[in-house]
Symmetry: D3
Subunit: 251 residues, 6 copies
């Protein structure tokens, strides 16, 4: 099968980290199609970055589906544009934030999220609430590391994240940890070793969930919450390749 | 004072209806600055339309603030881009959805929303939940009128909306009604008369709430939920006029 | 228009502070009618004071409506008797507690309330829960200042309140502050200046919300939650002027 | 032991029905002291009646405690003035609404309340929510019988209540029924027989719960939610016998 | 009347402590039938102990009903097997955890639970949530005393529990305390004295609630949540005496 | 990798259906180890059947882990004994109920569960609530088909399930369907075809989730919610092979 993974930001090195993590998690027989949103910000930190990234992200996802992707991963922990993506695509779509949290909830009764900047905390809290996961989340903690600092100095980054993990376990009663940024892909194993709790990273979690959904033959529901936009009588034309699901639905 | 009202879609007739309703509600001494998002869809129906409208909407709001607006109204009942807007603007910002619901909650213990298409219902339900208003909302009902049909045939539109209002009162226990589309501005008085319950329309509700906020000297909080995006070390430049609040915050 | 503001307690100096704040917030063309409940306690601190204040408060509100008030403000942060008031009055009614919290929620995602005594905290928490605002409230903090101490030594009072505001911001993540007592009217501007966050005071917030409601032509819904008491076949006569809404409703 | 039961309204026949039910439920060795609030409305239907009844009710409860009552029952299904009562009395206090709902929750996972007029439904829903019982309550149904009609024509009353019980079981999935009015005391056994589900009546439930609390040596907590009002430096004198708990607390 | 109390574990000394507390709380005329689950673990600490205890516990309860018990108490604070017990027994059944929490909620707005080991905390939190009591519970604290240590060194145990009570009051705002283990029966009075707050112990609370339920003539509802298992066409035979309620229900 | 799947009931034909569905869903390289609980009831319908099945189920799981299983599936939609299982096993464990619901939540905003008998509905509702999925669940519907009837007459079973699916879509707004019984494995594809919505079956969903968890290297957290039982000083010996995780944890 083919799974697309789209980095909503325009930083190539992150796209490469993400693609690597995705391919490393993928089963034999799964092809990973990696895309980057060149129209997006260099990193997504807060509501504004997210909002500016969505149109390009949706376009990339529409192209991915045209390229034959059976399922899709949005590689930002904010699950940027997830609901709009589910409204235009036939295949299942997941964001790495929801993916990591759902996977963590299978191995722990309470998990904490350790993310980058505090500007993202309320966004993650709202996402968890909408997904029904607030009650399973002990805390969302910010390491105050900018996204791109993760690559600039991995050593230092690793330490700051590790400190927050320790606090989440000791002070918040976290039983497992969710790494709250695509840039943290690859740190999970060592941090789990160091702290003696499960540590879940979203890119690989999302790939496995999408492999599962494809194997089960699942597609995104097209009535209700993820119904596609209704046709416009007037002028407006959706960007090339957007809303391919329309025909499906009208049929 | 100056209050800006931005129509996130590109339909001029709607922008005019909205501006008219805003000016009609404004106090003496309040100047209404009306903007239209020419880059947006002709109407906003569902997640995709909303996502595509946000960048142009944010740009219009940034310009409005540069033009001296003290507060801002997003004239789509989905509260499109509200959190991103609050993250870049100094003045208070409200969407007409939140405005109408908050005003209705002052005169009734349970209100129902009557909107256009069912594709918007889950979006409105999520917005109400995030604003803490789910418990006060008896139901969100769709009249299945496309946004633009409101203008094409007002007579017919009025009847369909009126039918849903009757159902909300009789079947859902609604004590007041919220009109769930900017295009419905101007129907409130007659529908309230006809059904004998308070009927709240969002454009005028939003103008009064923003007048109040400005009089109280309130500005949008800049820590936590509405903190502006953090500065990017690399290339990315925000569209002209975007993130003017940045200086404020770094100061 | 005419807006009545009723001090449910019998302390004249507080009634004057309240009336002053109301008139200061009112738009040109708004007449403020101020009332005091001489039958009430000298201050409202806890459930018992509140319960004893209500009958006199309702009577004052009924008189205010007879005096031509278009809307009403209950000037106690506990929103004393709010639901009973909405059940007897035609015009919209708000308490300063709900008013301040709703206004704060327009400019911040999480606010804290700083009130007088801890005896009031559970009452405020229950009110916020019923209004759907618990999720937006970071904390309700008591300064342990008795209501009347606010006037006895404003200097000292100001400092104690300021300390709690600092704790709410640093420890609870408050993005804005709500001043939890009518006696604090007038401190908002300076405290906002000092702490760099929006500070909302209830009397002025309530006046602006009621001006808005009147402009929108809203009256309190008379079915469901705020329905007036049903007529008694036997003896009991409501105090003079009480339940004027009855005719309305039976008509 | 002595348990006081206070009818917050002024209808003697109801007071007698209530006292009878209380004495019938009481254990050997429990003396029931019955009081009536002559200053109250003839019946309590909605927020206004409740608010007007509270001062007289509190006074009666204060007298009951002086008369040696070890625990207290407020005999109105709205739990009128419950929190204020708990703030002034040493002994435990319960309202018949909370009593019946808590007892029903011991024998069924979902119960429905069948009350008198729809004006009371929102009050009961708020009480259940505050007590954490909303999730266990399948529905609150109004028979639209005025309180006093229960005595005027018991036959007819019984039938209307029975119809609502049938609807609650068939349509709402109720597994047990709570009778939502003090005037319904005495109907429980026959209705349980007729419908084959547990039917709980509040007066007897409250008596048993208060007997239990007294046997366990429990008194109402005096810190936090039920703390007594703080002392007033100025003039205001609480009505004779009110706030006897004060000394206790200052000691 | 006869009330059975079953110790789900196999430690005779605890069974004796429990029976003693039950008989001490019982009214004149109430006979306490005490049972012990010899097939159970020596103590119930966590999900596994609980799961292994249930079959023997259900068997003991079935025998108790055959022995003429009118109501039943499960003497483990985890409310082990409560829902299964309610599904097979005619009489009302309560666990001491639910009993203590419901009784505490009658005399305090916020209570804390002080239990034995932290392994039990999530179980108690889930039980409180299902019973709708989470909102009334300030905290569930573990003293880290193993169940059997309560008897090994009562002195030391008492001190550790007392320390946690102090923390619950000072740090969590507890207004009352619930003792979270059957082995703590008998400590309530002294701890209440020492800390000046109501302290509720589950065994006696459960006995009083069951006496009340029997006096009210209540039996466990047999439709919905506590419906008995449906008959099996094939081989499987329930352990001797199990599911006696079946006939009742089919009738 | 090796994944164990345990049928908590003793009906061989169901065990075979389950094993078949699991092997059909498994990736190349995944070995499915199927177990049956011969000590369990012939089917699990309600709390009592579930409680009686758990000890044998736990034993089977302990043996499965000793046989080298890397992860485990409990093949009953009630997620029978899930928390106890997580407390004794090293590898991740999931129940088919949680698995199906989590997978459905990835492709629809609201799903309905169609199960066998109404006796199971409250159990499923409680499980969904504990997993944070209540808000995403439109309804839990019972087809009133006994578990074993699914095999006795598949034709008829299929029709009854199909009718409930239609009701869930039309009346409850379900966007996807979850099949609420292990015996329904294999019906998903055809029902999805027939109704045009995603239909999720738990056995295959659980296998894919466990494959994912193993690939991610996740093990069940051993602190907090799923901590193993604490060691007993006295006599009690856990059944052969039970609590193998103990050493792990003490280390």
């Amino acid at each position: 099968m083919r799974i697309s993974i789209v980095n909503p930001n325009s930083t190539r090195s992150m796209t490469e980290t993400i693609a690597l993590a995705a391919r490393h998690a993928a089963a034999r027989g799964t092809e990973i199609l990696a895309y980057q949103n060149d129209a997006g910000p260099v990193s997504i930190e807060g509501h504004v970055d997210g909002a500016l990234a969505v149109p390009g992200l949706l376009h990339a996802l529409a192209i991915a589906e045209r390229d034959g992707a059976d399922a899709h991963v949005i590689a930002c922990f904010d699950d940027t544009g997830l609901e709009a993506a589910r409204s235009i695509l036939k295949g299942p779509v997941i964001g790495i934030g929801e993916a990591a949290a759902r996977m963590a909830s299978l191995v722990a009764r309470r998990f904490s999220v350790v993310t980058t900047l505090s500007v993202s905390v309320p966004i993650l809290e709202d996402n968890l609430a909408r997904a029904g996961l607030s009650g399973l989340c002990a805390s969302v903690r910010a390491s105050e590391l900018p996204v791109l600092a993760l690559e600039a100095d991995p050593e230092a980054a690793n330490d700051k994240i590790s400190e927050e993990i320790a606090r989440a376990i000791d002070q918040d009663g976290a039983e497992a940890i969710v790494l709250g940024c695509a840039g943290m892909a690859g740190l999970a194993a060592e941090l789990s070793e160091r702290h003696g709790v499960p540590v879940v990273e979203g890119v690989s979690a999302a790939v496995k969930l999408m492999e599962g959904a494809v194997t089960l033959g699942l597609k995104t529901a097209k009535r209700g919450g993820y119904a596609p936009p209704s046709p416009k009588d007037q002028g407006f034309v959706y960007p090339d390749g957007m809303v391919p699901a329309r025909a499906e639905v009208e049929a």
